[in-house]
């Protein structure tokens, strides 16, 4: 008896539609992952990987690179938190500006997604570098006599570059959630005595809770998995986990350790993400 008529009519016939996508996803996504999972218990034998059943790689993954794992999680939380806060501000303007203005703003946010990932990172180099926009500006103005090297190749630079790249991903779910908040709810809240600040806390934030959590998690996952940005704008000074996984499959040739580190990162990110989501859910309720 449950379900609508249209669901009843279509139910059995629509399933084959997902087969092509499922085939791609299973063959190219889940399959290799399973293979990597198996390899993560193997060992390296004189430049060859050899079957084994050892937890050595996982122990190394945590004991040798534990600090990097922790700072990666911290960086992910920082980037996601900054993106989420900024996206709430941007999405609020998009939602409550005049409809036309809101559409233009949303378009501008989306258009930044067309800029390539690498292009954006190099853009940050030209902003933060020794002869970048900020340093040459300060030099010309006579405020400093030598370039501030710490602008680039610092955790702050990595965070800035990642926020710049990830912000549109955060704005979209928040803007979507805000669109569902109707003007009449806001008017009712005002009518019942809510000033602008309380309105945000008592009505708007609880209403967009799911969108905010989605924005946070999306940014968090993309940030902890990124290993290009820290190499290009973080220099050697920012040791992030992703940076250490990549060479295991290249120069260091230790696939089992790389695989184990990869799964360690996934588990750590799932755990951290779940804790953050639960916290946000409580705070925003």
């Amino acid at each position: 008896m449950s379900g609508t008529v249209s669901q009843g009519i279509l139910n059995d016939r629509i399933w084959p539609l997902i087969l092509p996508a499922a085939a791609v996803f299973l063959a190219l996504g889940v399959g290799p992952l399973l293979w990597m999972f198996v390899i993560s218990f193997w060992r390296v034998d004189v430049f060859r990987i050899a079957p084994d059943l050892t937890l050595r790689n996982y122990i190394d993954a945590v004991s040798l690179h534990g600090r990097a794992l922790a700072s990666t999680m911290a960086l992910g939380i920082a980037v996601a938190a900054i993106c989420t806060v900024l996206s709430i501000a941007v999405a609020t303007v998009i939602r409550f500006a005049k409809p036309r203005t809101g559409q233009i703003l949303l378009f501008l946010v989306l258009v930044t997604l067309f800029g390539g990932y690498l292009t954006k990172i190099y853009a940050w180099k030209t902003i933060l570098g020794n002869d970048g926009v900020i340093n040459s500006g300060l030099l010309t103005a006579g405020i400093i006599s030598t370039p501030i090297e710490q602008l680039l190749y610092s955790p702050a630079a990595v965070i800035a570059a990642m926020v710049g790249f990830l912000l549109p991903f955060a704005v979209l779910p928040v803007a979507g959630a805000l669109r569902a908040v109707e003007m009449i709810e806001i008017e009712a809240a005002r009518d019942l005595g809510t000033g602008p600040a309380k309105l945000f806390r008592l009505v708007i934030l609880p209403r967009i809770r799911r969108g905010v959590i989605a924005a946070f998690l999306l940014c968090f996952c993309l940030a902890v998995g990124d290993y290009i940005t820290p190499i290009l704008v973080g220099g050697g000074r920012t040791a992030l986990y992703g940076q250490m996984i990549a060479p295991q499959f290249g120069t260091l040739f230790n696939w089992p350790l790389g695989a184990a580190m990869g799964f360690t990162l996934v588990v750590a990110a799932l755990f951290t993400g779940a804790v953050c989501a639960a916290l946000l859910d409580r705070v925003l309720r």
């Binding site: 709810e185 008017e187 009712a188 005002r190 009518d191 019942l192 005595g193 008592l202």
Partner: protein
Amino acid sequence: MALLILDKLQKTYGQTAAVHPTDLSVDAGDFLAVLGPSGCGKTTLLRMIGGFVAPTAVRIHVGGQDVTGLPPERRPTNMVFQGYGLFPHMSVRQNIAYGPKVAGWPAAQIASAVDDMLALGQLEKFADRPVTDLSGGQRQRVALVRALILKPQVLLLDEPLGALDAALRASLQDELRQIHRQIGGTFVFVTHDQQEAMAMANRVAVMNDGRIAQVDSPQTIYGQPADPFVATFIGEAALLPVTVRQGRVRLPGGREAVVSGADGPRAVVLRPGDVAPAPAESPADLTVNVTDSVFQGGYNRLSLRTADGLLLRADVAVGVPLPAPGESIGIVLPARPLHTVKLPS
């Protein structure tokens, strides 16, 4: 002493006037209906009182306080919105408790006030359900008591029953009247439904094209409409053109009838209850052609056409012999003074 005073309230959008300069005062305890066709400015008027639309020029006084510059959250008014505006992330109880919570009432006082409101709205059974689970009528009651819990000096209602079906509307009309009697507040509600305005309000303000045409009791609005618009918007009415001389008119049948209103060209307002077939052998005031006869349950409604082409309606009690369509009959108008309105020039 008037509780709510609108002094030259006005709203223009660019060159267009939504509400022309309007004066209106509402006494404490009044149940005032603002009635008019859609687009007449009645909702704009209500939203200006609530603080949601900034008036172009005016003063709005509530209980002696000038509230013109105050935002909605600082006005002593509360509003029941068309579409309710309930908070979907909260239960019924949380919705009702919202206002007191924001106002910082002590928890015990909030709990007991919410219980009172749940009882008033007959919502006890639904207290802990999410409002998204409720039916239209139940949501309407939540919106009503959520606004009432703050004991507003004036409760504003914007088409409160507009989204409900006819049967539910009738029962909620009764409930609203009862609640008004019970708590004795001052209600101002906007509606386009004249039956609803008549049934609920003790005063009706009829709006047309951004102006208040008449403010009076429902009886006066129906019996002595101020102009042709009010006469035809409220109930059925035919306007019989006449020339008034010294407070009298000569009807086509020859009788001199006493009428209200100044001398000159005017129109007599004829309600279906005012028109009756002339009894046999007695002189008729008007001769008309019967075009149709429809059984309405308690009475028959005749459609009649004069020689000048004016369409009249007459309600005839069941049992009285009915003329057949096509027949030419004489009709009589009431002996009491007839009400006239000025015809637009």
